[in-house]
Amino acid sequence: MYRPTPSIQRVNNIEYIDRHSGPRVAFYGTRFKELTLPVGSRVIYPNAPMTPLKDVKAAIRHALSHPHQMEPLFALLKPGMKLTIAIDDISLPLPGMVKPDIRELILTEILKQCAEYGVEDIHMIIAICLHRRMTGPEIRDMVGDKIYNEYYPDRLYNHDAEDPDGIVELGTAEGGHVVRLNRRAVESDLLIYVNVNFVPMDGGHKSVTVGLCDYKSVSEHHNTKTMHKCHSYMDPRHDKSQLAKRVDLMGQLVDQHLKVFHIETAINNKMFGGPLSFLNRPERTWSTFDWAKLRASNAALERMPEAARRGIFEKVKAPYGVVAVHAGKTEPTHKRILEANFRQYSVPVKGQAEVLVSGIPFISPYNVNSTLNPILIQVMALGYLFNFYRNMPLIQKGGVLIITHPCHEDFNREHHPSYVEFYHRILNISKYSPDISHLEHELVNNPDYIHMYRKGHAYHPVHPFYMWYWGDAGRAHVGQVIVVGAENPRVPEQLGWKNAKSLDEALEMAQGVLGKSCPQVTMTSAPPIFIADMEA
């Protein structure tokens, strides 16, 4: 069995490819691609998973009784009070956690305290914003059998951003942004938010202000102007992310009107469990058996239909470990969780890449138990992977982004009905967001899409627009995106990208774009996630 020779040069999380280096493995949707990089290329790896908390339940109890800048939870609970608990949906973490989900543990402790203090009027709302409604089984997986059986569906349900009676206007925040929120949450004596902070973009004011709002309110910041002023989404400093700034301003208005007790959690980056656990480690640490598993798995996956491949990956839950739990007022709580996030994800990197190579995995926040359609492939490349940086993008301005994905025109019509129209019609009008943003209303006013969002399990009709805007900053920065191995060449073409049969061909095309023969090539070995802390 062939085993690649370990790379010789390595500095912290970065390995440099020399002529003895073996291939590197990139996600290729539900399969893998072995890539042979040019000598001199560098490969950036995520940090090893942080050591998880030994006793998560004790950490939760401690956080609830020692909150930041608020009284302990038990002191806020009064008999006869109206309590709403909002919960992050299954768009995070990815993949889903091995049971018990951290949300189940937190809810169990909250409900225990509620019972002790005589709080009975409790509603739990999944803060989906404009995401799809979670199904009963998905909610059961997240909150556990006991809570599900007792509360679902009457007192445990999904937020409905299109319920004309279920949304109230709270006011106008600094900057003129209208804040509209879930009525039950607004009219409660106390709102508790249970968060999982998967990436630094999550949590904080975004939880309530976005998770429980409606289309009008979310469009205050999910628009082309705001997105063009984000460098990056993963850097919540106000001078770096206009999105974070607007959300924070709106969230401060929420805090003036509502009593919000925030519970935030940070997890490590142990994304792969079971037979895939070797994917958490760099290739140089893989044993012969690990390589054999990869190649055998890939050979088997190649022979399966796409749905079967997806089914296998969806079944493998992630053995994430909880590394921090904090509670209290929104901002001080979020500050501590962000620190934990960056401790896990931050990787110092010096110098931008002229060519960035990255694999696109099978999953994104928007296709849990679903397909990664072309718009979501786009958001994974230009919205997420591109934005995993602080200070400056990992790829230089005008650089070439090479991704690996089979690129099928595969839409889940139950989850993404409006994506079909966006992809086939709206993108044919223009691929430049400011030219198409005025067409949002055409999809938003489609009663079928609204009905499927409210009664079925569809994303809100505006969602594909937001996914496209999400890629705007990346699109404006990157000179060319090249897909290696697109099995349907129409997909890259429709997204404004190029297609290459192999990495060598893609690198040759990149040389043409950059006008130089030996560009600096960097590959990100992700997932697991990392955030490049860039230095010039």
Binding site: F411, R413, P417, P447, M452, K455, G456
Partner: protein, 251 residues
């Protein structure tokens, strides 16, 4: 005058034009939503109303005779349906032969109250309301008969509707034939295009909802086709064309 009224005037001369009530509330609608009825808006099919009529026959022998004949013919109808909706209609509506027009209309409201009202998919009723709120003209287009559909259309508050009509002889008894046009398969699409032209409706921006492969021509006529509780052949078509699917049974 609506399409339904014009049809009645031109093709059913001498018959009572009040028998199919047409309400056109929306005069400026540019978009329209066209709904098949059986299986799409209600969890029922054309057999159920007839079974009710048969069971309401004034004599015991009449009841038993009609119900027995219906039961015995079900396999034949299933085969006819597979061959095409037109053949099915030709065979099935022969059952109505001999039923009086008055009785059909009187029992129409009763059938709605006792049978159909409880079979309306609440999700589809909500969709009709949401669609109406968007200013979309609501139109039912069905292969069921007008006596059954009139109370349903009234209840749903749709803007317009069209249904099949039985032919009656000089004594006011059904002949078992349907008056043309017979709304099945491509005929629905043909009617829809004429209706759109007459009412200045932009079909590219209009919606259609159906549950059966026989309605694929109808769905193909509009810009926004939706398969509702689709049968296997319609589902395959919806899958191939990425049409949205609404499964009211799973909601």
């Amino acid at each position: 005058m609506s399409a339904q009224q014009e049809q009645k005037q031109t093709q059913q001369e001498g018959q009572d034009s009040n028998s199919t009530k047409v309400v056109d509330h929306s005069t400026s609608a540019r978009r329209a939503a066209f709904y098949d009825v059986d299986g799409t808006i209600i969890s029922s099919n054309v057999l159920h109303p007839y079974a009710y009529y048969a069971a309401s026959a004034p004599t015991i022998s009449g009841k038993l005779g009609r119900l027995f004949k219906l039961g015995a013919s079900l396999p034949i109808y299933a085969l006819a349906e597979r061959k095409g909706r037109k053949l099915f209609n030709d065979m099935f509506y022969m059952n109505y032969k001999g039923l009086s027009e008055d009785r059909l209309y009187i029992l129409g409201q009763e059938i709605f109250d006792n049978l159909l009202k409880s079979k309306i998919y609440s999700e589809m009723q909500a969709l009709i309301r949401e669609s109406q709120a968007q200013g979309v003209k609501q139109v039912l287009i069905t292969g069921n008969i007008d006596t059954v559909i009139a109370p349903l259309a009234d209840y749903l508050g749709v803007d317009d509707w069209v249904a099949n009509r039985l032919e009656f002889d000089q004594d006011g008894l059904a002949t078992g034939n349907l008056l043309p046009p017979i709304f099945a398969g491509p005929e629905k699409a043909y009617w829809l295009r004429s209706y759109a032209k007459e009412h200045n409706i932009n079909l590219d921006e209009s919606h259609a909802y159906a549950d059966s492969a026989s309605d694929i021509p109808l769905l193909c006529t509009v810009g926004y086709p939706v398969a509702v509780n689709p049968d296997s052949r319609l589902k395959a078509t919806a899958d191939a064309h990425n049409w949205p699917i609404i499964n009211t049974k799973s909601i």
